[in-house]
Each structure stands twice: as structure tokens, then as C-alpha cells.
């Protein structure tokens, strides 16, 4: 069925960032928004992606924002970097989703929801770190890999799930020794992200604490944000809600803060 080799081959297929994107990310890292915008403008696909992104309702802009330098200015350094990562991930998105009932728009909405709310959380926690802000982009990337892995054996996956109350993430782990969060770690390495980013994402699994107070705290917030987002009607319908096992006890101590930051009513 799904083997470790197959999983590795999918991760290998993840394209390294094209030169233009690498340059854009490098300049964003240096905080040079103007030059980064100039280079990004040359990539028409990125251009189109960023314009579409800014028109998502979650960003709440009344007027059309079309100029890349304007977009980068609005998003700020960390937000722009995150948007470029999201773009890179969207390049991996399948043309037709089989296991999860998603499409390109729904996937972009998922990315946008996670990004905007993660930014709110980091602001609440007084964390101003571009890499940590970008960490949230890895989760959608792993969803794409999982979709690719499972879609080939969709009937077997359904049969397995009908026989036992087992989440897809556990199936993934049992079959190829890597779960969603391990895949996140692999991708972060491939994209040469900071080491602590992988740790935060692993802590977000809710079952793999990293023995680092700050990283585990961020992991908790990310775990709860993941479930808040995966409880959105379109994502429940897409079958993503029961992808991973929600660890309620893990997040109970931050739930009230989370509710007020995100505005759960």
C-alpha cells in the first residue's frame, strides 16, 4: 500500500524554490520590501496568487489592491514571507482532489484562514519572528502530500477507516512511519527553514512535546488553531476535520485566551 519509499519520493518531488522566489524570500528576510516586490513582480504566477489572496474576505479590504509593492507593504515583512511560502505550497496542490473534497480556492482559503489567525495569535503572544509566522504554512503543505499518498489507495483507506475509529494521521504513521507533522518537518528542511520551526510544528501534533516551554506553548496554540480552522463547514465537508486526533486536554489551559484572541462566540 503506502510505503516509506513512496512517501519519500513525494517529498523529493517538492520543487525547491525557484530562483526568483528564493531571491524574494532572501530580500524579505533582510527586510527590503521594495526590492523584494520588484523581483516578485517578475513572477506572473506569484503576482496573480498574491492579488487573489488579498481579495479573500478574511483580509477585509474594500478596495482592489493590485500592486505587489502595495501588497507587501500591507502584509509587512513577516506576512509577505508567509504569503510567498503559501504560494510555493500552492504549486504542489493537485489539480483534482480525491480523498479530501477540496479545490484550489478552498485550499487557498484554508491557507489564508490559518495565516491570518496565526498572525493574531503571535501578536497576542508578543512574538515578532518571521520564521515562526511562516511555520503555519507547513501544515497545508503536508495535507497536499497526504492527499497525494492516500488518493492512489482511496478504497483501502476507506475500508481501513470503516473497520476502526482510526484517524488518517495514524494510518499514515503506521504505514510509512511518518505522520503529518513529520512530513511538515521534512518540508521545512527541504526549504531550509530554521530548526525550531520543525519543532513548533511537531509540538502542534499535541502528542510530541519538545521539552521547550516556549516551543510547546506555540505548539499548543497551533494545535488549537488547526482544529478551529478544520471545524469550518467547508473543511468538515472536505473530510479534514478528522484527519488528525484532537488532543483536548493539551489545549484546555489556553482555550479561554484563544477564544478571545480569535473571537470564538
Amino acid at each position: 500500500m503506502i510505503t516509506t519509499e513512496k512517501l519519500n519520493s513525494y517529498i523529493t518531488k517538492i520543487p525547491p524554490a525557484p530562483q526568483a522566489l528564493r531571491d524574494t524570500l532572501h530580500l524579505l528576510n533582510l527586510g527590503d520590501l521594495t526590492k523584494a516586490a520588484k523581483i516578485a513582480s517578475d513572477d506572473l504566477a506569484l503576482n496573480s496568487y498574491l492579488k487573489n489572496l488579498m481579495h479573500k474576505s478574511i483580509y477585509g479590504f474594500r478596495n482592489e489592491v493590485s500592486d505587489i509593492s502595495q501588497i507587501f507593504g500591507i502584509l509587512g515583512v513577516a506576512g509577505s514571507q508567509q504569503a510567498v511560502y503559501n504560494y510555493m505550497i500552492s504549486l504542489l496542490s493537485p489539480s483534482k482532489w480525491v480523498l479530501f473534497k477540496l479545490n484550489a480556492t478552498a485550499f487557498q482559503n484554508l491557507q489564508a484562514e490559518l495565516s491570518v489567525n496565526w498572525k493574531k495569535i503571535l501578536a497576542h503572544l508578543n512574538i515578532n519572528d518571521k520564521d515562526i509566522q511562516s511555520a503555519i504554512t507547513l501544515l497545508p503543505a503536508s495535507i497536499i502530500i497526504s492527499e497525494a499518498l492516500f488518493s492512489e489507495k482511496i478504497e483501502n483507506v476507506k475500508l481501513l477507516r470503516s473497520a476502526s475509529a482510526i484517524d488518517l494521521n495514524t494510518i499514515l504513521k503506521r504505514l510509512c512511519g511518518m505522520d503529518l507533522f513529520d512530513i511538515c518537518e521534512k518540508i521545512s528542511q527541504k526549504w531550509e527553514m530554521q530548526g525550531n520551526i520543525a519543532k513548533i510544528v511537531q509540538a502542534a501534533s499535541g502528542i510530541k512535546p519538545q521539552d521547550d516551554k516556549n516551543i510547546d506553548m506555540l505548539g499548543k496554540w497551533m494545535h488549537l488553531l488547526l482544529f478551529y480552522t478544520l471545524s469550518k463547514p467547508s473543511l468538515v465537508e472536505a473530510g479534514l476535520n478528522d484527519f488528525i486526533d484532537f488532543q483536548v486536554e493539551y489545549v484546555m489551559d489556553i482555550y479561554d485566551d484563544f477564544s478571545s484572541v480569535i473571537g470564538v462566540s
Binding site: S162, S164, A165, L224, F227, Y228, L230, S231, K232, P233, S234, V236, E237, N241, D242, D245, F246, V248, V251, M252, Y255, S259, V264
Partner: protein, 464 residues
């Protein structure tokens, strides 16, 4: 989402946030259809991994559960609920909690018919007396040994001895029971609680149908707990005056307890007294005065002009009424029932000695009253199960009978709901002797069924 089935229990396990927006997406029509076809004793929704929910979010699951119950009579409800979730659901469905709540899946399994691991020592506690009784009966019926804590203090005390019990049950509610509209106390008084400002809104909030049916069942003493009332205006005055006047038709006594007249004109008190309303400073002035309690709450012939006849709708449902009654009494007494004669007549009780009675009303799509006349021996058997020992305290026996009849009423409600007939039930009324009962029902025509439990005869009477 599909339910996972294990040991005859199907469990749905949604996770994350459950609200009105996403609730519908957890269950498709196919999921609901598939669940109704399951051969299971119990269908539950686990809230273990739900961190937030509101009533709208639960609604999809509640509708599914009720549909499943109507289709295959399975016990349905929610499980894995802590105290906070228990309180929230109880609040959301205050008057409409017709599904069960179980603290854990393990507790739920004790109430499942196919649960094999029996003979558990189970400590049971619920604030609601009827619930305590219902749980004890169900547990006993399933082969367990329930120990019922009668008060919160007793519960905490008993719970300290952890090794004494295999399982401790709290934060649990059996949904087959009737809804709680008012509180019943020994002596057949019904207590309604009113608070803050009493104005025209009382006409909307007071359940007049429930009150009228309680009168019809034979309740004669109604107490308004008004300790928390700030003031009353003329609209509320008119309402209570009319209530008192209509109660007079049944010789009912209606009392106000704890009402102060600092912000309410004292003239209102005089008006209400003229209408027959009684006023007391403290609840104990009535409840601790057995003589007064008996005098106010005693049965008396009702001078009701409009006698109601049995109709086809109610007779059609007769098997449901009998099934609910027989099943409950069989559970309580561990005896098998034999149906003897059934006839349409006014109630006929040949041997009135050593018999006590209880009645419960139902109203809604159909309305009427079930009367049960028990030999004292059966009543005592029932008490032994609920209290854990034989008792000769007649008051305690009557209280237990009230619980038994309440359970019968709850079962009737559930069986009728399965046929899409919606009814509510009144509180049970008890009678220390047959004469008291006859004062209320002697001229009512109904269906009388004589039943035999081992050597004990028992009478079922369905009337309007």
C-alpha cells in the same frame, strides 16, 4: 461521519468546534440513514474531543438521535461530558431534554442491554430524585447493584470509599424520563418558582396547560415560591386572580410563599385573598405542618362541568400505555405480568383494603390520565429496589410510587414520541387510600385493565 460500533453501542466522535454553521456538515443524509439501520442498543455522540459547542451545533446530532430512536428504539444521547458540558446541555434543552447524557462511555455501557459485564457495584447520584430512581431501576434491571445517594452530602461521603464501588455515576441523565416543570414534594403539593418582576409576561411563561392537567390528575395544592419576587403589577395580579378562580372549580388551594409587599401594593394581597389565594411567610409553614398540608392538598370532588370522554386517538395508543406500565412494574418487582381482563367502564375497585394509588396526566397531541392502583405489597417491593431495604413508612412508599409512576409517564412519552405523537406529562399524584382516588375519578369513564404480578393483583386505568 459514520459511527463506530462496539458491543452494541454506536458512537459518533466529532471533534473541534461544533456550531450552527458546521453542525450540518458532520452528518450527511446517508450517515443518518445508515445509523437508523444499525442493530444497536445505544447510539451516542461523544463530546470528548469537542472543545466548544452551542445548541445550534448540537441540533444536527439531536435530530439524528431522535430519528434513530424512532426507527429502532435505541437509547440515544451524548457521552463523555464533564460537569461544564452537562450543565450547558441541560441549560440548552431545559424543557426538552428527551435524550440521555452520560458522563463517560463506561457509564453509558451499564445502561446498554447487551452489556455483558454485569454485577457492578454502582454508586448513583443525581440532583433530580426521579433521575436517581430511574437510574437505579435501569441498573438493577441490567444486573447491577445500584447504591443510591439521596443527597449531595451523602454522595460525597460515600464516594470517598472509592474501593467500595466499581463505578460512580454523576453528571448523567436518562432521557426517557419526563421533563421537569415543577417540583413535587411529599403531600402532593406542586411548587412553582417565580422571580424578579411579575408582569404581563407571566401569562406567556407560566405553563397553563401543565397546571390544568395537574388539576385534572388530582393535584389540589399549588405553591408559588415567591421569595425572589421583587414586585408585581396589575397584569400579573389579574393573571393570578384568574388562576385562583379557575382553581376554585377543583377546590384547589393556591398559595404564595415569601412574597413581600414593599414594592407591591398591599391592596393586591387583599384582591388575591378575595380570589382565594393564601399567603405564607415561609415554605416550612406549609410543608412542616402535616395537618395543614393534608387539609390543603386533600382530594376533593371536582365540580367540573365538562366531563371528557375517551376518544379513538387515545384508545388506539392503549398498547403503548400498557407496555410502558407493565415493563416498568416488571422491572421494579422482578415479576412477570399477566394481563387478565380489559373493559371500558368507570373505575371498579372491589377490594379497597391495603391499596394505594397514583396517577399521572399527559397532554399535548393527545391528553388523558393513567391511574395505577397498587396493593401495598407491590409498592413495598418497588421501595426495596429503590431504597435498598424494606420499609413500612407509608410516606416513603408513596414517594417511591410517585417515582415509579413518573417513570411510567416518561416511558409513555418516549413510546408515543416514536409514533410522532408529542405529549408532556404532569407530576405524579399519589393517594394514601383508594377513597381519595375515587373522589377524583369515580365518575370518569376509561379503560380498566386488571393485571396480575405473581399473586398480586394490580389495576391500570386510562381515562381523560
Amino acid at each position: 461521519m459514520r459511527a463506530m460500533v462496539k458491543d452494541g453501542i454506536a458512537i459518533f466522535a466529532p471533534q473541534g468546534f461544533l456550531d450552527g454553521n458546521n453542525g450540518n456538515f458532520f452528518l450527511s443524509i446517508e450517515d443518518i440513514e445508515a445509523t437508523t439501520k444499525l442493530k444497536v442498543d445505544m447510539v451516542l455522540v461523544s463530546l470528548k474531543k469537542v472543545v466548544f459547542f452551542n445548541r445550534n451545533g448540537l441540533e444536527t446530532f439531536v435530530k439524528m438521535l431522535l430519528k434513530v430512536r424512532a426507527a429502532n428504539h435505541a437509547t440515544v444521547g451524548f457521552c463523555d461530558i464533564d460537569h461544564k458540558k452537562f450543565e450547558a446541555i441541560s441549560r440548552f434543552y431545559e424543557n426538552d431534554l428527551n435524550f440521555s447524557l452520560f458522563k463517560t462511555q463506561e457509564i453509558a455501557s451499564l445502561f446498554a442491554a447487551s452489556f455483558k459485564n454485569q454485577s457492578k457495584n454502582v454508586l448513583v447520584y443525581s440532583e433530580d430524585k426521579s433521575q436517581r430512581a430511574a437510574m437505579a431501576i435501569e441498573l438493577h434491571d441490567n444486573g447491577h447493584n445500584p447504591i443510591v445517594a439521596q443527597s449531595e452530602a451523602e454522595y460525597h461521603e460515600k464516594a470517598k470509599a472509592q474501593n467500595a464501588y466499581d463505578i460512580i455515576i454523576d453528571n448523567t441523565y436518562l432521557g426517557v424520563m419526563g421533563q421537569k416543570v415543577a417540583t413535587r414534594v411529599t403531600g402532593n403539593a406542586i411548587i412553582y418558582t417565580v422571580s424578579s418582576f411579575l408582569d404581563a409576561e407571566i401569562g406567556n411563561t407560566f405553563n397553563i396547560a401543565y397546571h390544568n392537567n395537574s388539576l385534572n390528575v388530582g393535584f389540589r395544592l399549588f405553591i408559588f415560591d415567591a421569595y425572589k419576587v421583587v414586585s408585581m403589577n396589575v397584569h400579573a395580579l389579574n393573571f393570578f386572580s384568574k388562576l385562583a378562580s379557575s382553581g376554585a372549580e377543583y377546590n384547589a388551594a393556591i398559595c404564595f410563599v415569601g412574597l413581600t409587599f414593599e414594592k407591591t401594593p398591599i391592596a393586591f394581597k387583599e384582591t388575591l385573598e378575595d380570589a382565594g389565594m393564601l399567603f405564607f411567610d415561609h415554605m416550612d409553614d406549609i410543608l412542616q405542618n402535616k395537618e395543614l398540608l393534608h387539609e390543603l392538598g386533600a382530594s376533593s370532588a371536582a365540580a367540573v362541568k365538562n366531563k371528557r370522554a375517551l376518544n379513538k386517538a387515545i384508545v388506539t395508543e392503549l398498547p403503548n400505555f400498557i407496555d410502558a406500565t407493565v415493563a416498568t412494574i416488571e422491572m421494579m418487582t422482578n415479576a412477570t405480568a399477566n394481563k387478565e381482563t380489559a373493559k371500558v367502564c368507570t373505575i371498579e375497585i372491589i377490594d379497597k383494603e391495603d391499596k394505594i394509588a397514583s396517577s399521572i396526566g399527559f397532554y399535548g397531541d393527545i391528553d388523558g390520565m393513567v391511574v395505577l392502583v397498587f396493593p401495598l405489597s407491590i409498592a413495598k417491593k418497588a421501595c426495596a429496589l429503590l431504597i435498598g431495604e424494606n420499609t413500612d413508612d407509608k410516606e416513603q412508599v408513596l414517594d417511591t410510587l410517585a417515582e415509579l409512576v413518573n417513570i411510567v409517564g416518561g416511558k409513555i412519552k418516549t413510546l408515543l414520541a416514536d409514533e410522532k405523537i408529542s405529549v408532556n406529562i404532569t407530576l405524579p399524584r399519589t393517594y394514601t387510600d383508594v377513597d381519595g382516588l375515587l373522589e377524583v375519578v369515580h365518575d370518569k369513564k376509561g379503560v380498566q385493565l386488571d393485571l396480575k404480578f405473581d399473586d398480586d393483583k394490580f389495576l391500570f386505568f386510562l381515562t381523560r
